[in-house]
């Protein structure tokens, strides 16, 4: 296929998206009370290791059965008040959106992805100061993987979420400097 149109350039999300993009239950991909729920969480850090309080993270993942079809309803609305109803409690949309808090921390509650190979969530990072978003992956397990196996050990480690107590996984994102997270481009 020949490309005919040139892309619209990216711009930073800026500092003022907070009243527009985040939505209630954005961090709750798992249906409420689901026994298999896991928590993926961590900090987003800048080149001096300081937490970034105005980053916005988006997550996209396979459903537990491996489906990549997704489902509408991530930001289900109330047609009466215009407010948000929250997710419907049964559909798995595969999409989450979480702003970091004042301490640069985020937490996402979801179900384990059932994609082929090692389970991972795709992460898209936006922030004030970041002119073009960044993609990375939070792998929930280590093992043989085309992408991971091509990386030196210390870089590989930045893509593996560390399993903690109570079905938690810690995944920090370092935009720059020591321990800089591996960011991806798709070709």
């Amino acid at each position: 296929m020949s490309e005919t149109l040139l892309p619209t350039p990216s711009h930073t999300v800026g500092p003022f998206y907070g009243y527009a993009l985040p939505f209630p239950d954005g961090e709750q991909i798992a249906p409420a009370g689901h026994p298999d729920t896991i928590t993926l969480h961590g900090y987003v850090l800048d080149g001096e290791g300081k937490p970034i309080p105005d980053a916005l993270l988006e997550f996209w993942q396979a459903a537990p059965d491996g489906s990549l079809r997704g489902a509408p309803g991530s930001l289900r609305r109330d047609p009466v008040t215009g407010g948000h109803l929250g997710r419907n409690g049964t559909d798995f949309t595969g999409f989450g959106r979480v702003p970091t808090d004042a301490d640069g921390h985020y937490a996402l509650r979801t179900l384990p992805p059932g994609n082929a190979g090692l389970p991972y969530l795709s992460v898209c990072v936006f922030a004030r100061g970041l002119l073009h978003h960044l993609f990375t992956r939070a792998y929930l397990a280590d093992g043989a993987d085309t992408l991971l196996d091509a990386l030196p050990a210390e870089r590989r480690a930045t893509l593996i979420a560390a399993e903690g107590p109570g079905r938690t996984y810690r995944f920090d994102i370092r935009l720059q400097g020591e321990g800089e997270t591996v960011f991806l481009e798709f070709q």
């Binding site: 892309p7 350039p9 800026g14 009243y19 990549l68 991530s74 609305r77 100061g129 002119l131 720059q176």
Partner: protein
């Protein structure tokens, strides 16, 4: 010592000249801003120094080749009219902004979510962090959402945002703009950007717009005034198409 506009202009011009010279010498055109663009000071500690790692999109099981979907549950019918979200009418110049969401093959992206946010007519955001001395408008929040139709079209009714000051350097002003967030059929196509208005005198001074060093690419961020879209005694019309890049599963299927 506080940075002046002239200090920033020098940096912007150096980077512009370096880019133009590189392209003249055969370097590839850059359609997106460099993440490392020092005139925008907030970028200095917030960009990776390691090169991005390429993922070959040829594997259809790559999660990022699919993406989130949205539907009628995710918006309300008036979300794309930012002028009727409150009891009264907002102040400012009422405008219509419409366009198409396309992939780089020119195909419409159908049924996808388009979100916008913007300052009010005075250049003030409904956000605690914006405390500059311009009035808030009780009849304007500045948030809109819609889904593209079966031809990839979107349309918003809003008011023209004002320019506003920021603290990148002394006397820094952002040209009037509307923030856009759009999804393609694949997560790889995700895009957040800003739409500008034609003829804004602040363009040359703005390190965020100038971070897109390619003039033709910058021009693609500026809407076109369309008189046929203006409505008599009601609103002015602007047109702005959005083109996404990045591979998608659709491409792979068609390539087989």
């Amino acid at each position: 010592m506080a940075l002046t506009q002239s200090d920033i202009d020098l940096e912007i011009n150096d980077l512009q000249n370096a880019y133009d010279k590189a392209v003249a010498g055969g370097a590839p055109v850059l359609n997106h801003p460099s993440r490392d663009y020092a005139p925008y000071r907030s970028s200095v500690l917030r960009h990776p120094k390691q090169p991005l790692v390429a993922v070959n999109g040829g594997d259809p099981e790559t999660v990022e080749l699919s993406g989130p979907v949205f539907g009628v549950t995710d918006i309300t019918e008036i979300d794309n009219n930012l002028t009727i979200q409150h009891q009264g009418e907002p102040l400012g110049e009422r405008i219509t902004v419409r366009g198409r969401l396309l992939d780089s093959g020119g195909r419409p992206v159908r049924g996808q979510l388009v979100e916008i946010w913007q300052a009010n007519a005075s250049g003030r955001y409904a956000h605690l962090r914006d405390q500059h001395p311009a009035p808030l408008d009780p009849n304007f929040t500045g948030v809109g959402r819609t889904l593209t139709d079966d031809q990839g079209r979107y349309i918003f009714t809003t008011i023209k945002p004002g320019a506003y000051p920021w603290r990148n350097h002394t006397n820094a002003w952002r040209p009037a703009h509307i923030h856009f967030s759009v999804f393609g059929t694949a997560f790889t196509q995700r895009l957040i950007t800003q739409m500008y208005f034609p003829g804004d005198p602040l363009f040359p001074y703005d390190p965020i717009l100038r971070s897109v060093t390619d003039q033709a690419a910058r021009d693609r961020l500026v809407a076109t005034y369309n008189h046929d879209l203006s409505q008599p005694e009601f609103s002015l019309g602007y047109e702005w198409d959005i083109v996404l890049d990045g591979p998608s599963a659709t491409w792979i299927e068609e390539g087989r």
